[in-house]
């Protein structure tokens, strides 16, 4: 399968993948603990040693998740959610921002389209460059 479609499928099975990763890492810790136990550590100590060796679990999960792709998309989604939540909670600020930006953008657009039609759009003839101006000299 094409890598793009694999990643797309992973995106739809996000929750599953998360659980799988956790189970995979859990298995790693158990194996490691089992090995420490075989080397003579007590069960509790073996588990702690295995857990310590793994290091920062969240960071590891995050780094692995990054390999599934879509990190940029995920972050964009988070940013958008954050933006809309902030806008929803700060109504007055949102109102002021919108009511100052909207007329500004609207007025600009209106003036530009006016200028465009008057100054910039070419004359309604087939070859405007060949037009000449003639005046009668006195």
């Amino acid at each position: 399968m094409n890598p793009f479609f694999r990643k797309l499928r992973w995106l739809t099975q996000r929750r599953n993948k998360e659980a799988e990763l956790l189970e995979e890492l859990q298995f790693h810790i158990e194996e490691e603990a089992g090995q420490h136990q075989a080397e003579g550590l007590a069960e509790e100590q073996a588990r702690w040693a295995a857990r310590r060796e793994l290091g920062n679990l969240t960071l590891l999960q995050e780094n692995t998740r990054a390999m599934w792709g879509w990190t940029i998309l995920e972050q964009l989604r988070q940013d958008l959610r954050y933006a809309f939540r902030t806008m929803a909670s700060k109504r007055l600020f949102t109102f002021l921002a919108v009511s100052s930006l909207a007329p500004g953008i609207g007025a600009n657009t209106a003036i530009y389209s006016f200028t465009n039609s008057i100054l910039l759009r070419s004359l309604p003839v087939s070859d405007p460059a060949s037009l000449t101006r003639a005046e009668l000299a006195q």
Partner: protein, 118 residues
């Protein structure tokens, strides 16, 4: 029992993929087994950090060089087994010859046998 081997070599950037692919040539294995195999085979000189092993495995899976499936481990627990895909096998050949060329070049520079005699 030796807890800390006398010296340990830092894994060079980009070599972990090659080590993983080569390890899987012997057959499917789960993450822990791969890490232990690399450590044992290198006579404890190379230690694969778990923090880089799993991202690497998932990266290789995304590139379709390895495929993963759940299976029972030798102790009867569910584990995620990785196996080499035909694409991975091809990539292994490429990476290995690249690495060997690199080693040869390093050797030529570090031990210039022919030139120094003159």
């Amino acid at each position: 029992m030796r807890r800390e081997p006398p010296s340990r070599v830092e894994l060079l950037q980009g070599t972990l993929d090659l080590l993983i692919l080569r390890t899987l040539l012997a057959g499917p294995a789960h993450g822990h087994a791969i890490s232990k195999h690399i450590q044992r085979t290198s006579e404890d000189l190379l230690l694969v950090e778990t923090g880089s092993l799993y991202p690497a495995l998932h990266r290789l899976e995304a590139k379709a060089w390895v495929a993963a499936s759940w299976d029972l481990s030798d102790k009867g627990k569910r584990a995620r087994f990785y196996r080499l895909t035909p694409l991975g096998r091809k990539q292994l050949a490429v990476e290995q010859s690249k690495w060997e060329a690199f080693c040869r070049a390093m050797g030529l520079i570090l031990n210039p046998v022919d030139q120094e005699g003159q």
